[in-house]
Amino acid sequence: MSVTPFIVLSAILFTIGCVGVLTRRNAIVVFMCVELMLNASNLALVTFSRANGNLDGQIAAFFVMVVAAAEVVVGLAIIMTIFRSRRSASVDDASLLKY
């Protein structure tokens, strides 16, 4: 059970998450891609935890999940308020803060 395939998978998922964040315009989908990136990193953490033989990796993954939860809660609340005031969930619409 060598480590490399897991890490490669994690890298691929992370990259897909990145490209998803860049290309998708619906705020919620962008958010999902962010979650995907977080999960990819969790996978790497768990894999390394097993490779190094101590549980710190898993605890780190656990904390990542906690933070992800907090982030999602606040993120979605923001998206809700933007949607309520702007009637659109597209990321490009909220672009007033510019030159």
Binding site: C18, V21, L22, T23, R25, V91, D92, A94, S95, L96, L97, K98, Y99
Partner: protein
């Protein structure tokens, strides 16, 4: 000759008072303000007269001393010192400065008395006398200073006084412009003096006459020539010699006593004084002396030619002054032989030229300040005393035997022939032309028919003006006595050094006869051209090219304007635009460029979160690549 002066003692210690009195007078009159108006002018006259008396005392005391130790120095205070170079305010009293002292204070006193009358109804008379006293004080500093920088102090002081006096009637724009022109051209001359002083310091380690005269022979020929030429440049500036002569004619804008004192008797001769005082340098360099001779000759002829064509009586006299100083510079240039005669001619010229200028002043006073000779005519009956004194001056300048001019000018022509024939001939021709324009002036003013303007009825000037005229007439008549038994030459030998008399092919008496013949010819020509024919009221326009040139001062001013002033103005205006656009432009431009660059970079902030994410990812990729490159490269 070496300047080995001994500390003043006894009567000579009053030397500094000669300067202090007029300086004090100037201070009181200028700072005094309205309160001194009533008696101000008499204070002015008193101070100069007092210092004249002192100079007489000093003169007779010096006369008492025997030949050897007739040089006294008085140390006042150390002016400034820097490293090894220290400059003292010392006074040097020797035969040369004694003679100058008498001339300045004597003629000065007479002119002060004259100007009491002349400036009678000028509300700023007090200030006029203040400036005159300031002038006399600075001139005395110039002739008594024992150090080139001391001379420079007097030199510029005199320049300032001439600026103030030429531009005395400041409300006349022409007077102000003339004053500025005089000062600036004098300043150009001063370049010569300051550079000369610097070169002297570099060569001799000090600028005091004593040190320089002691070591003059050790310096290299080239340095001495350079110093000589620089001093010549200074002399040209101050004495209105050839390259820097344009300001003298404009200086006639000032009141007539000013022209008499400054632009005839004293200041313009400062250049000659400087050359004669630096004889220990000039006698060692042949080339510098030839330069002086050339400049003297050219100015001699130029002045004469200009004098012929001028209708303004003061400008004609100014032209003649320029040519007479040309004579003196020529004489000074002839080396040890000529120094004494230059000073002798300077003295006699001081008497008769001041006399004639004051005469012209009294004529103008009578003709209510009209200077154009074409409006004069037949004034001999209206102003007998002025006519008489002016006549004596006229005979003196011509060089008619008993009068002063004959003795001094002939000597110069004689020595000129001794030195080189061409120069002698120029001097001779100059004498002839002088005769022509002086006779023309006399005829136009006193002879020929009455051409007075309407409502002008000339009258004799008051006594306070005619007495100085008479005094000066006596001096210009008896001036020749100074040469009795070569007294002046022996008197000046301790200063200018020994000179053996060398004989001409044709002998002294023959020389004088030739000169007299040339003068007679000049008078005759003037008589036929001006005396016989009716004098038109306005200057005729169709005239020969020479007269037109002479009227334009031989294009001296035109040359300065074309070559220096016009390109200068254009250059400065160009420089101003360069300064604004290039130098300032660079600075302002830098600011504009920065704002432009920042404007382009601002566009990156387009508010779209996804493009920010893109730059984020790009950055991360870059970091990763560099890490890989660094670790695995």
């Amino acid at each position: 000759m070496h300047v080995t002066a001994v500390q003043t003692d006894g009567v000579f210690s009053i030397l500094w008072l000669v300067i202090a009195l007029p300086a004090l007078g100037a201070l009181v009159l200028l700072a005094g303000g309205k309160r001194t108006d009533k008696w101000g002018h008499w204070l002015g006259v008193a101070t100069v007269a007092a210092s004249f008396v002192l100079s007489l005392i000093l003169f007779f005391a010096l006369l008492g001393k025997d030949e050897g130790e007739r040089q006294y120095t008085q140390h006042l205070w150390n002016w400034f010192s820097a490293g090894s170079y220290s400059v003292n305010i010392d006074l040097l009293y020797d035969p040369l400065s004694a003679v100058f002292l008498l001339l300045i204070t004597g003629v000065g006193a007479l002119i002060h008395v004259y100007s009491v009358g002349y400036m009678e109804h000028d509300e700023r008379r007090r200030r006029f006398f203040g400036y005159l006293n300031l002038f006399v004080a600075s001139m005395l500093v110039l002739v008594l200073a024992a150090d080139y920088v001391g001379v420079f102090l007097g030199w510029e002081g005199v320049g300032l006084a001439s600026y103030l006096l030429i531009g005395f009637w400041q409300h006349k724009p022409s007077a102000a412009a003339a004053a500025k022109k005089a000062f600036v051209i004098n300043r150009v001359g001063d370049i010569g003096l300051s550079l000369g002083a610097s070169l002297i310091f570099v060569t001799f380690g000090s600028t005091s006459f004593a040190v320089v005269s002691a070591h003059a022979d050790k310096a290299s020929g080239a340095t001495l020539t350079a110093i000589g030429l620089l001093l010549l440049l200074a002399a040209c500036g101050k004495s209105a010699q050839f390259p820097l002569q344009t300001w003298l004619l404009d200086a006639m804008e000032g009141p007539t006593p000013v022209s008499a004192l400054i632009h005839a008797a004293t200041m313009v001769t400062a250049g000659v004084y400087l050359i004669v005082r630096s004889n220990f340098i000039f006698s060692l360099t042949e080339d510098a002396r030839t330069g002086v001779i050339i400049v003297g000759t050219i100015t001699l002829l130029m002045g004469a030619v200009i004098g012929c064509a001028k209708d303004d009586i003061k400008k004609a006299l100014a032209g003649s002054t320029m040519s007479q100083i040309g004579y003196m510079v020529l004489a000074a240039g002839l080396g040890p032989a000529g120094y004494a005669f230059a000073i002798f001619h300077l003295l006699t010229h001081g008497f008769f030229k001041a006399n004639m200028f004051l005469g012209a002043g009294s004529v103008m006073h009578g003709m209510d300040d009209d200077v154009n000779m074409r409006h004069y005519g037949a004034l001999r009956k209206a102003m007998p005393i002025t006519f008489a004194t002016f006549g004596i001056g006229y005979l003196a300048i011509l060089g008619v035997p008993p009068f002063a001019g004959f003795w001094s000018k002939d000597k110069i022509i004689e020595t000129a022939f001794g030195d080189n024939f061409l120069v002698g001939m120029c001097a001779l021709i100059g004498a002839g032309v002088t005769a022509f324009y002086m006779t023309r002036l006399m005829l136009l003013t006193f002879g020929t028919t009455k051409r007075w303007e309407k409502g002008v009825h000339p009258h004799e000037s008051p006594k306070v003006m005619t007495y100085p005229l008479i005094a000066l007439a006596v001096l210009s008549a008896g001036g020749g006595l100074l040469l009795a038994g070569d007294w002046i030459v022996d008197w000046l030998t301790p200063v200018v050094g020994e000179h053996e008399e060398h004989h001409l092919a044709v002998g002294a008496v023959g020389m004088s006869l030739i000169a007299l013949a040339v003068v007679a010819a000049g008078v005759a020509v003037a008589w036929f051209l001006v005396g016989k024919r009716p004098v038109p009221k306005e200057a005729p326009s169709k005239v020969s090219v020479f007269t037109r040139a002479a009227r334009a001062d031989l294009y001296g001013d035109a040359f300065n304007d074309e070559v220096i002033i016009k390109p200068g103005v254009v250059g400065i205006r160009g420089l101003a635009t360069v300064d604004r656009s290039v130098v300032d432009g660079l600075v302002e431009g830098l600011a504009v460029a920065l704002t432009a660059i920042s404007a382009t970079f601002r566009r990156v902030q387009n508010g779209l979160v996804r493009s920010y994410a893109l730059t984020l990812l790009g950055g991360a990729a870059l970091v990763l690549l560099t890490l890989l490159a660094v670790n695995f490269g």
